[in-house]
């Protein structure tokens, strides 16, 4: 019997059995988004601009060799020169070093506040959407109250209690900022929970981890990125507004808002003192906005090819 089989059949081994498996390496969500982001020239240029600004903010003062707070009474209101790249202000302080320090504060605020907003907002929104019922309505009411308190009231009070320093400015800006994110996340998760493809994945026997990692998270990230992209410029604007109104940082600390407000005082005769800090602010915000647009296109799973 064995002989008969041997003659009619040839053993070919089983090395081709895995031909049906997916041969190409799977591309993760992040890799795919990065690949598409790289094809977007505007987003890449914005990223380079941001990297350059961050580098200048960190190293700028050392680069030009000037101290941002040192006053020189003999060198007031100088035009830009080899020694003072952006000129000096009304107290003889080097404007380039001050703009760098201001940009440093603005970038710091943007990063820290956004981090807090995302972490707190996601957790809060997730809990609201997960539990529902009365937990949801109580937590929603809390958000409603926080959002209808005038934001300036909260900020001024926090600054009064904690004093005018960078950490207290961060706290003041973070107190109510996460509300919008929480609301957006709640909406998205509620919507996703009942989406057909989530049901299909569950029906096909996908474990909860896979549903969350492959379906829920990538789909909330689009909304989250949109949220972050709009809130980063917002934080930078808010800080500059506070600085302008005189509620923000006090000297010797400085920020782009404080510099703009000083620039306004001098703009009649020395408009450059307004234009340099305002230009830096606009450049940072513009780069963040354009990068945000590019990221949104790259991360949206619906646009995936």
């Amino acid at each position: 019997m064995e002989q008969a089989i041997d003659k009619r059949f040839v053993i070919i081994g089983c090395k081709d059995a895995d031909k049906e498996a997916i041969a190409r390496p799977t591309i993760t969500y992040g890799q795919d988004a990065w690949r598409r982001l790289k094809k977007n020239p505007i987003a890449m240029i914005s990223m380079a601009v941001l990297a350059l600004m961050a580098l200048l903010a960190l190293l700028g003062p050392a680069l030009c060799g000037q101290d941002f707070a040192a006053m020189e009474p003999t060198m007031k209101n100088l035009p830009p020169s080899a020694q003072h790249w952006f000129g000096t202000d009304m107290l003889g302080r080097d404007l380039f070093a001050r703009v760098c320090i201001g940009a440093r504060i603005s970038l710091l605020i943007a990063l820290v506040c956004t981090l807090v907003q995302v972490v707190v907002g996601c957790a809060y929104g997730g809990i609201m959407a997960y539990f529902g019922g009365w937990v949801d309505s109580v937590m929603m009411r809390v958000i409603e109250v926080l959002m209808s308190l005038p934001y300036l009231l909260v900020v001024i009070i926090v600054m009064l209690v904690l004093g005018n320093s960078v950490p207290s400015l961060l706290v003041a800006l973070c107190v109510t900022s996460w509300c919008n994110t929480a609301r957006a996340m709640r909406g998205v998760i509620l919507q996703l929970k009942s989406a057909e493809y989530v049901m299909a994945a569950q029906a096909l026997g996908a474990p909860a981890r896979r549903v969350i990692m492959k379906h829920l998270l990538p789909n909330t990230i689009g909304i989250l990125i949109l949220n972050i992209a709009t809130s980063i410029p917002n934080y930078i604007f808010q800080e500059s507004t506070l600085g302008f109104l005189g509620i923000g940082l006090q000297p010797p600390d400085t920020s782009l808002g404080v510099l703009i407000s000083l620039g306004q005082a001098a703009m009649e005769f020395y408009p450059l003192q307004l234009i340099f800090p305002a230009g830096a602010l606009v450049l940072i915000v513009l780069a963040f906005n354009l990068l945000g647009d590019g990221l949104r296109d790259a991360l949206d799973p619906k646009l995936r090819k």
């Binding site: 209808s148 620039g263 305002a278 906005n289 354009l290």
Partner: protein, 317 residues
Amino acid sequence: MLKYTIRRFAEMVFTLFIIASATFFLLAAVPGDPLADRADKLPENIRQNMYHKYGLDKPVLERYVITMRGMLQGDFGESVRMPGYDIQRLLSETLAPSARLGLQTILLGVGAGLLLGVLAAMCKGTWLDHAIVFFSVLMISVPTLVFGLLLQKYVAGELGLFPIIGWPKGKELWLGGWSYTVLPTLSGCFSYIATYSRLLKTSMLDVINQDYVLAARAKGLSEGQVVRRHILRNSFIPIITVLPMSVAFALTGSFFIEKVYAIPGFGRYFIEAVQTRDLSIVLGQTVLMAAVYVLVVFLVDILYTLVDPRIRVGGKA
């Protein structure tokens, strides 16, 4: 509908109560009191009289009850910093400029923004679309503050086309004195133009690809009817969600535009009042702003049902 309105109204009153309480305790938590720097140099008995006059000698909870009871009767108390003023008098003098500025800004900003949004969506892919997108990103990246300062310096200062600062008074409070209002309105409205044109464009492009638009076209409706009845109506839904925030924000004052153009609006007093812990003024303004906000949100919920017949008030179809 009536039941829904009553329930919403009760919720609104409750929210306002919470906000007033939160404001009171937030201010009470700040160390120091509004009289401290003035009263310290005065003789002991005069100081006690002053504290007694404003009720600051009582414990916090008692002051809270007194304040809330007064608020129910529309009495927010006299300002500590500006003797003779209460919130009603302050508002009657400062609300009109703020409200006019806000109204003009929102009308021009949202109007122009929606128009540009429709144009960009209808001419998608043409140079017009790219130009609108480019300008809205640029506008959204320049803070209102910088716009205000630059317009003031170059249009008013160098070219002398409009007054540098000031605001129409007296008979011209609401209508007239337009030249004063041009620059503040312009500097305020750019951010609205940018926001709304982007929002409407995205939402319209979303709607254009829907099946019901294809169905409407297949039925042989004219292009104008398709755009007006099917595309525009549906793409306004996200707009209506964000509009109340903008309206409430604009109506209750843009603090820095008021500061740049020296407009006698109430934003300035708000900052002063919070910094000096002037409770009656802060409470009055906060409750007013919150009331405007809550009311606008309520009106918008009603408006929803008019724009989108699929949404029914009260949850039942």
